[in-house]
């Protein structure tokens, strides 16, 4: 028994990512075609060269045929995966394992979501399992809102201090997103605007919540030893970790909404797989799941970017900004990109791909790209009951 990982056994040799946003004129099929064409081109291959596909979508299609039909894949294995908001990461994870196992030479992971056709603001979900009507109806915003009083109470921050810390996180991500042509929102937002925005749930205002967008992103995975046949700058997979929570947090009186145990567990597992002992100093950057500003604050501590109870100070000190000690969400995060559920995980890896290959535009170049390692973190669910995924990728073997 053990989680051994597949460090340096597979590499990403091509990636593509559509702009994220309100694609009123593009459907799921269009987004898949756009992202896959960009991904194939990036790797210098054609669709026939891919031996197996993993499609991630949570609410825009069912079965592998949701990809095989629009791309017209002939006699190819296509697996549809879903794991809440970590769906795209799950596609990457399974595609990577398929290559590492030796079953396939070339695999593609692609994620997509078309959420703007629902007619409602926010995510409305897809699964229509018959129920007894007793399930919680609270929105994700309200659940993540509880982390703010929870954190403030534990570490002695009053409402105004919490407000400032959370607003700084939103401001940072929008600052980065303003420098990213693929982002949905490409505008810096002032602290004043963030603080005075209408409340959505609890103390969370509009700018504490990620937006809703359509989008798609893909990656081509090959064995590490074959990587240089496709690109001279492959990105090697160092760690892939996933935990599906047992949903006990909201039933546990000890749980205080200041940590996400599933995230802490994936962090520990991923660091062990990658051989990382000091993430704050070894990682060049991290893309984390900032569905709400409270989530990003707690993630800093769960992923050991900051000591328990100190992340709020680090936020105020600018630690996680582009020029900081450990840039987090240099691409603008979910805050700037919106959150096409089945695509976000691969969008995060796309930023690591750009930054570690030195292809990010100069206006959002990170301070310590030379460290050569990037982390992506993707969660699905709520405080107390979530799926968490962490990947670590690097631009060198070893």
């Amino acid at each position: 028994m053990g989680s051994h990982g597949i460090k340096d056994r597979v590499a990403i040799v091509g990636m593509g990512c559509t702009p994220f946003g309100e694609h009123w004129n593009k459907g799921t099929d269009d987004l898949l075609i756009d992202a896959s064409e960009a991904t194939f081109a990036s790797a210098g291959i054609k669709k026939e060269d891919v031996d197996a596909y993993w499609l991630g979508t949570a609410m825009s299609g069912m079965s592998g045929m949701a990809l095989a039909r629009p791309l017209q894949l002939h006699d190819k294995p296509v697996t549809h995966v879903e794991n809440f908001c970590a769906t795209a990461s799950e596609a990457l994870r399974n595609a990577a394992y398929s290559v590492a196992s030796g079953a396939y030479d070339v695999a593609m992971a692609i994620g997509v979501e078309k959420v703007k056709d629902s007619g409602y603001q926010g995510l409305v979900g897809a699964a229509k399992t018959p129920t007894d009507g007793t399930g919680r109806t609270l929105t994700a915003a309200a659940m993540f809102a509880m982390c703010s009083p929870g954190y403030g109470k534990k570490y002695g921050l009053d409402d105004d201090q919490m407000r400032e810390v959370l607003a700084r996180i939103a401001q940072k991500n929008h600052y980065n997103g303003a420098r990213n042509p693929r982002a949905q929102f490409r505008k810096e937002i002032s602290m004043e605007t963030i603080v005075n925005a209408p409340l959505m749930a609890g103390g969370l205002g509009v700018y504490d919540c990620s937006g809703v967008a359509d989008g798609s992103a893909g990656a081509i995975i090959v064995r590490a030893e074959d990587a240089l046949e496709y690109t001279d700058k492959p990105i090697y997979i160092k760690a892939l970790s996933l935990v599906a929570g047992n949903c006990s947090g909201n039933a546990d009186p000890e749980y205080d909404y200041t940590t996400f145990p599933e995230i802490a567990a994936t962090g520990r597992d991923a660091y062990a797989q990658a051989g990382i002992t000091n993430p704050r100093e070894q990682l060049a950057m991290a893309e984390v799941h900032d569905c709400f500003t409270t989530a990003e604050l707690l993630i800093y501590e769960d992923l050991q970017f900051a000591e328990r109870g100190t992340a709020w100070k680090e936020v105020l000190d600018g630690t996680f900004e582009l020029e900081g000690a450990l840039p987090v969400n240099p691409d603008g995060g979910l805050k700037s990109f919106g959150h096409p559920v089945g695509a976000s995980g691969l969008r995060m890896v796309f930023e690591a791909w750009l930054q570690l290959r030195g292809e990010a535009p100069p206006e959002r170049t990170i301070a310590h790209a030379d460290r050569g390692l990037a982390l992506t973190h993707n969660l699905g669910g709520y405080p107390g009951e979530m799926v968490s995924f962490v990947s670590i990728v690097g631009n060198e073997l070893g």
Partner: protein, 470 residues
């Protein structure tokens, strides 16, 4: 001896100031307040609340053999509403549950039948939600509420009010009417009803006194109620009882709760009655029904779980606009979220204990509480080693709370709390009967049976938390 073992009156938390009606429309309204069922209450849920109070007020170990539910405003036709109350009370499967529905008279009819036509222990639950078009007399004079009475023999438990006898009179006349599906009642001009009710009450009153071998002056409390307020008032003054014997009909605070009002007022009266007193109940509803009771020594030890008086005290005003929205008299913009799907009958059937009676499970090894009930323990991982954990009477403390302004609700915003139960365990639950601005962590809460939403004409009942009051 047969009579009343315990009683429970339920008055919803919200009040409408009648003066607000005239302020809005220039007419209607009046003085005082009326009770208002919350948007998540109906006659079934209010009946559950009254029944829970009656059972909690009864001596330990007394279980009803039958549940009778009566209302003139049923949540369902065809489907038995008493079965829902039965499930919420977690009564045994072999306890019969029957609806006595339709007419305003059905509530008092069920009571007299329980007293005279049955020999088992009957939990009689009456509930009603009354109203009318904006500015109508019914809109302001009526109220919402429920009354429950546990009726039985003293061989089963101490009877606090012995039934002495009663009488009924019946005559066909068109005084107040409503057809199925209509939300407003119509009434003939007042004098006609007053003239018709006078002789009917006289006849029943005299017959009842005669059967109990009592003179009117021996009656120390007389409850007179009926939707025809003018007739009830004038008749109450002519019964030959002492003036101070007339019970407060709660018309200035609660309003007339229709088919529930007789049991509600009887519960209210018993809560402050001394032993050895004769109480008369006089009900006007397409005829007259009179029932006579004498309180017993057992009433001195009777401790009502929550009095009607305390519920009248602990109320909170509801803005008139909100009232009109809740009643469907004003169409308000719904939240821009998808409406919930109808619930599954088969899933609800499998989870009846959880959904209707709020029963979780407790791991026998670790003692860990699981809500909803689980087969595999979260602590220790034992499989299928759980005992039922009834939690509907549990109280807890708010550990964290949040106001959700974007979640779907028939009356947004939604207040949600993470509740830590006394004795261990935790559950995030929706709050009701709260003013969001006054909520805080550390507040004490208890559970109440509510209707979450209705979809495809299926009501989705479940439990919410409300602040502990009174």
């Amino acid at each position: 001896m047969r009579g009343i073992i315990s009683a429970g009156g339920y008055v919803p938390f919200r009040r409408l100031q009648r003066a607000e009606i005239a302020k809005t429309f220039g007419s209607g309204g009046g003085k005082g307040t009326r009770s208002v069922a919350s948007y998540d209450e109906d006659t079934t849920t209010m009946g559950v609340e009254a029944a829970r109070l009656a059972l909690r007020s009864a001596p330990e170990g007394i279980a009803p053999d039958a549940l009778w539910f009566s209302t003139a405003s049923p949540a369902y036709l065809d489907k038995n509403n008493a079965s829902t109350v039965h499930a919420a009370l977690r009564l045994d499967t072999d306890v019969a549950a029957f609806d006595f529905g339709g007419a305003l008279r059905s509530g008092v009819g069920a009571l007299r039948t329980a007293l005279e036509g049955a020999s088992n222990t009957v939990l009689l639950v009456t509930s009603d939600q009354r109203g009318g078009l904006p500015t109508s007399g019914d809109e302001s004079a009526t109220g919402d509420g429920a009354g429950a009475l546990l009726v039985g023999d003293d061989s089963k438990g101490p009877v606090i009010a012995e039934y002495l006898g009663g009488a009924s009179t019946t005559e066909e006349f068109i005084e107040r009417w409503r057809t199925p599906g209509s939300t407003r009642s119509r009434a003939w001009e007042e004098r006609f009803g007053e003239v018709k009710y006078g002789p009917l009450v006289d006849q029943a009153w005299n017959a009842a006194l005669k059967s109990a071998e009592l003179a009117p002056e021996k009656v120390s409390k007389v409850i007179v109620t009926g939707m025809h307020a003018r007739a009830a008032r004038s008749i109450g003054a002519k019964l030959g009882t002492a003036k101070e014997a007339l019970a407060d009909d709660r018309s200035t605070t609660v309003g007339n709760t229709g088919s529930a009002h007789a049991a509600l007022l009887l519960a209210d009266t018993l809560e402050s009655a001394a032993p050895g007193r004769v109480i008369a109940l006089v009900v006007l509803a397409d005829g007259a029904d009179v029932m006579l009771f004498r309180t017993t020594d057992a009433i001195t030890a009777y401790a009502p779980a929550r009095t009607v008086a305390s519920q009248i005290e602990g109320a909170s005003d509801l803005p008139y606009g909100k009232f009109l929205g809740w009643r469907g008299e004003a169409k308000l913009e719904p939240p821009r979220r998808p409406e919930p799907d109808r619930i599954s009958a088969s899933v609800s059937g499998r989870t009846e204990e959880w959904k209707y009676a709020f029963v979780g499970s407790r791991d026998r090894s670790s003692g860990e509480l699981h809500m909803p009930p689980a087969r595999v323990s979260r602590v220790g991982d034992t499989v299928d080693d759980m005992a039922p954990a009834p939690m509907s009477d549990a109280q807890g403390t708010i550990a964290l709370l949040t106001i959700d302004r974007i979640a779907y609700s028939p009356s947004p915003p939604v207040a949600f709390a993470v509740v830590d139960w006394d004795g261990g365990g935790r559950l995030p639950v929706e709050l009701t009967d709260v003013d969001a601005a006054t909520l805080k962590m550390g507040d004490r809460v208890e559970m109440t049976f509510r209707k979450l939403f209705t979809s495809d004409e299926i009501h989705n009942y479940f439990w919410k938390a409300r602040p502990v009051r009174g």
